[in-house]
């Protein structure tokens, strides 16, 4: 113990002698991170990326991204003697002749799915809690970029083995590029190096998959983390939490140890999946052959919404002056994702424009307290999941013994009918939850105890709202007081918001924001009145923290 302490001390001194970073390092170690399960979603994405790098390096040692034709002589008997590309051959080699190769391949694929899933769920967390608001819009944009690049990277990855399924996917990709007006054919031929399938694309895709996109990921993730570091993590409101502080545990030692441990848990999870759950069994699909296809051809889940859109689109195509515009390709695969991702990227700015809220926010929203945003989010998710389900219409038709024609028509209508319903229902649920919160705050919780008064009246007894568990630093010498303050704060906030919706007086802060008079600002206010609750100081109406508000 003493020896290692001496060594550590010596090491710290050696580092400081050269870099002079003792002060910075100490502050880094003392950096405080808030604790909430939902803050680990982004961590899962980060750890999946590291797992992808590790397993990807292993796979790249054996994979050969060449489309040179070879005859298979490996140990998988059913394919012996079959002509295939070297890419497919080396994938089979990894699977059947490298010990642990199948495991690493499956871990790699599972980690990719986990990477995309955790990004999407993390994005939902950030959206529904309003973590994207000022000052974190830049990080939101980086996140959206990572999402889009992740979809491309995943597609590039599962296209490399050159099996029947991935080759079909590449053919669709070629058709999509070819369908772009004006430049489509040129773009497709330049990308693929020739007409489909050609010999150039898989080697090119390999470079994109293992060099260009991972480098972009590494840079963007680094920037994403630096921004979190600089701006500090958001936190949910609660006793002891304010806009000006971070409450949690420090990097050294608690958070570092928890984070490091969590990495291994995530890695272990992907290893378990790679061991027990088969994924992308390319040896069953066979090598790619342009005249073959398998039924139930579906991409990985994160491409699913695009595939669903490609299925649900009506067969529109126009011919103008000898030129063909295939809307049935263009709309689902380029216009729609273009609109979706642009709107996502712009959302923080649109919301700030509509609500006129340009202040810093470090405390997160409770989704129910932002009914309009929550409803918009649910509306978008409904649209998204319908597209995702739409990519399985053939499978659904088989499972449920339904006509897929009817199924597709149902999806086409639902795509426009369901999202507004989701908006309305979510909004009503949020408002009802707010009212129930207000009710509890005003009258306390129901006890189930009915008592009869001397006059014969029956009433249910209500107990005071249970005191939230308050960290003692807040409540030193009188936990009740601190807790009560916090609870009252929340009550007051909700009450005032409800008043406002009913047309009550808008607080003095309500007039801050968009300038009066101009048509644009009027329109913006009108839209805002419909979509958003216009309250300017929702977080800190109580006196202790009003200093925070006035500072901004």
């Amino acid at each position: 113990m003493a020896v290692s302490a001496t060594v550590s001390k010596q090491a710290l001194r050696e580092v400081d002698d050269r870099l002079g970073g003792a002060g910075w390092l100490r502050k880094t170690m003392n950096k405080v991170f808030p604790d909430h399960w939902s803050f680990m979603l982004g961590e899962i994405a980060l750890y999946s990326f590291i797992i992808l790098l590790l397993t990807g390096v292993f796979l790249s040692l054996f994979f050969d991204a060449s489309v040179e034709k070879v005859i298979y002589h490996g140990s998988y008997v059913p394919l012996r003697g079959v002509e295939m590309t070297q890419a497919y051959n080396s994938t089979l080699h990894i699977t059947f002749d490298i010990r642990g190769g199948l495991l690493i391949r499956q871990i790699h694929h599972w980690a990719a799915l986990l990477f995309m899933s955790s990004i999407v769920v993390h994005l939902c967390r950030v959206f529904f809690t309003g973590a994207f608001r000022k000052p974190r819009e830049t990080n939101w944009l980086i996140g959206i970029t990572l999402l889009v690049l992740g979809i491309l990277e995943g597609f590039a990855g599962y296209s490399l083995p050159d099996d029947l399924l991935s080759g079909t996917g590449l053919r669709i990709a070629f058709s999509i590029v070819q369908g772009i007006p004006l430049v489509g054919t040129w773009a497709a031929f330049l990308l693929f190096g020739s007409d489909f399938p050609g010999t150039a694309f898989i080697p090119r895709l390999y470079i994109v998959h293992i060099l260009l996109l991972p480098a972009a990921f590494a840079a963007l993730i680094t920037f994403h983390l630096l921004m979190i570091w600089r701006q500090k993590h958001t936190d949910f409101a609660g006793p002891g939490k304010t806009e000006d502080t971070v409450v949690g545990s420090r990097l050294w030692p608690t958070y570092a140890l928890k984070g490091g441990g969590f990495f291994f848990i995530v890695f272990g999870m992907t290893a378990l999946l790679g061991a027990a759950v088969q994924i992308n069994p390319v040896w069953l699909f066979g090598p790619y052959n342009p005249s073959h296809v398998s039924a139930g051809s579906q991409p990985d889940w994160y491409m699913g919404f695009l595939d669903g859109a490609l299925r649900l689109i009506p067969n529109w195509e126009t011919n103008v002056l000898g030129h063909t515009i295939s809307w049935n390709i263009l709309v689902p695969s380029l216009v729609l994702p273009g609109i979706i991702f642009t709107l996502m990227a712009l959302y923080p700015f649109l919301e700030a424009m509509v609500t006129g809220d340009h202040r810093h926010h470090n405390l997160l929203d409770r989704p129910r307290n932002r009914p309009s945003r929550t409803a918009l989010g649910m509306m978008s998710l409904t649209f998204y999941f319908l597209l995702l389900l739409g990519s399985s219409t053939d499978v659904l038709a088989v499972i449920f013994h339904m006509s897929f024609n009817w199924l597709i028509w149902a999806f086409r209508f639902l795509l426009f009918l369901a999202p507004p319903i989701a908006y309305y229902v979510t909004r009503r649920i949020c408002l009802a939850l707010q009212r129930s919160d207000a009710d509890v705050a005003h009258h306390g919780v129901e006890t189930g105890i009915i008592s009869r008064s001397p006059s014969g009246e029956y009433t249910e007894r209500h107990a005071p709202t249970p005191t939230p568990k308050v960290p003692e630093l807040v409540a030193v010498g009188g936990g009740e007081g601190g807790a009560a303050t916090a609870a009252v704060t929340r009550t007051r906030r909700r009450g005032s918001r409800n008043n406002r919706r009913r047309g009550g007086s808008r607080g003095p802060a309500g007039s801050v924001g968009a300038g009066n008079g101009s048509t644009v600002s009027k329109a913006s206010r009108a839209i805002g009145g419909f979509f958003f609750d216009r309250d300017k100081a929702p977080e800190q109406p109580d006196s202790e923290t009003s200093t925070t508000v006035s500072r901004r």
């Binding site: 100490r26 502050k27 140990s75 430049v183 006793p239 002891g240 848990i265 061991a275 009560a484």
Partner: protein, 397 residues
């Protein structure tokens, strides 16, 4: 660090449970490690928190003392960034309850058990790697389970050990740190603007329109060389999209057996994927658009399109297999309805009516290959497809 702030440790009385914080703690002590390490002499004087005042409401209520330049905003005001290069402040407070010694020992044993389990699993992994033979059929399928299972156990146990350590051995801490976010002090912003505009002034970007405009011009033009370099990524398109490998007189061969097909080989309702004879001697790129479906529909039900009356042979017709939507092979044939279905996006084509679209996203019917039979009854192509095969493109017309 002259700009650092002090920090405080709060020590509750003995006997409090791990993870639970005692409510009646009042004194704050200096965080001794930091105080020693800091040459600036961080002071950690005792302080008593007042009841009911959130710790971060203002500096007065904080248990910490700021060393160095006074915080901006005065008492009760915010603590702004103290110096420009200061990225974070370590202005935190912690609460460290004592662990029950017996529970502490048990927790340490749990952590050690997890780490040892990880080691054992690693040994098992290595053993499986060495002793299990990937090529023995019965072992080959098991190898993935065993390697994956032991690897997962290694990782789970190692991770669990660390998390147990963090949760059960490290004293629970409740740390509060100032955020210091938001804008820099006004004077610093002013200084930045001054520096920027002074430089811009020296640059003369506003005064020298000629230089400025030519700069923008050059900046817009120079990337063109990079764009031009991309030209040789591939050949010019056009021709190859309009033609396939089919030529007049090519015999139709089964894609699997590579044998010619004779009239009568197909039963009614049968479907066969065919390619031009000797296709396997061509590069794949030349026959990727050539896959064709030869079908025999129910007798007398085929209603050929105008001008295509002699494109089929009896009830035999041949259509391109490449879907006009996104290029998937349309492989599924519903014998009852005599519809061809694309498995990718479910475009449906009516075979008996010239493969017109009856459902789905495809906009055009499948192109028809004119076929005939020779004297011996073998199918051959009368010509190439007379329209481009596969998905649409801009120049298709």
């Amino acid at each position: 660090m002259s700009t650092s702030e002090g920090s405080g440790t709060q020590t509750p009385p003995e006997g409090s449970r791990p993870g639970a914080l005692s409510p009646d703690v009042g004194t704050i002590e200096g965080y001794s490690t930091d105080a020693e390490a800091s040459p600036g002499g961080v002071e950690g004087g005792g302080a008593v928190l007042r009841p009911g005042v959130p710790i971060a409401g203002g500096n007065q209520a904080r248990s910490v003392r700021h060393v160095g330049p006074p915080p901006q905003g005065g008492p009760g005001g915010p603590v702004g960034p103290v110096a420009g290069q200061q990225m974070t402040s370590d202005n935190y407070e912690i609460d460290t309850p004592q662990l029950d010694p017996a529970e502490d020992r048990r927790a340490e044993r749990r952590v050690a058990f997890a780490f040892l389990l990880s080691v054992v699993a690693t040994i098992a992994f290595i053993g499986a790697y060495i002793f299990m033979d990937i090529h023995t059929a019965s072992y080959g399928s098991w190898l993935n389970y065993v390697l994956g299972g032991t690897l997962a156990l290694t990782l789970f146990a190692f991770g669990a050990g660390q998390i147990l350590w963090a949760k059960q051995l490290i004293p629970h801490e409740y740390a509060v740190q100032d955020r210091h976010d938001g804008a820099s002090p006004p004077e610093e912003r002013a200084a930045l603007e001054e520096t920027f505009f002074k430089g811009a002034d020296q640059l003369g970007i506003a005064r020298r329109p000629l230089a400025r405009r030519t700069l923008l011009l050059a900046a817009g033009v120079f990337p063109l060389s990079g764009v031009v370099l991309l030209r040789d990524l591939g050949p010019a398109p056009e021709k190859t999209l309009r033609t396939t490998a089919w030529r007049k007189g090519n015999y139709l061969v089964d894609v699997e057996t590579k044998q010619r097909i004779k009239l009568g080989d197909l039963r009614i309702g049968a479907i066969l994927t065919v390619l031009p004879e000797h296709f396997d001697e061509l590069p794949e790129i030349d026959w990727a658009t050539a896959p064709t479906i030869l079908l025999r529909v129910r007798p007398g039900e085929n209603r050929p399109l105008k001008g295509r009356e002699n494109w089929g042979v009896g009830d035999h017709v041949a259509y391109s297999k490449i879907c006009t939507h996104a290029g998937c092979p349309t492989s599924l044939y519903e014998t009852q309805t005599q519809n061809l279905l694309c498995p990718c996006h479910q475009s449906t084509f009516k075979v008996t009516e010239g493969c017109r679209v009856v459902f789905g996203p495809a906009a055009r019917g499948l192109p028809q290959l004119p076929i005939a039979v020779d004297n011996e009854g073998f199918f051959f192509a009368q010509s190439d497809y007379l329209e481009p095969v596969g998905p649409s493109f801009w120049e298709r017309g």
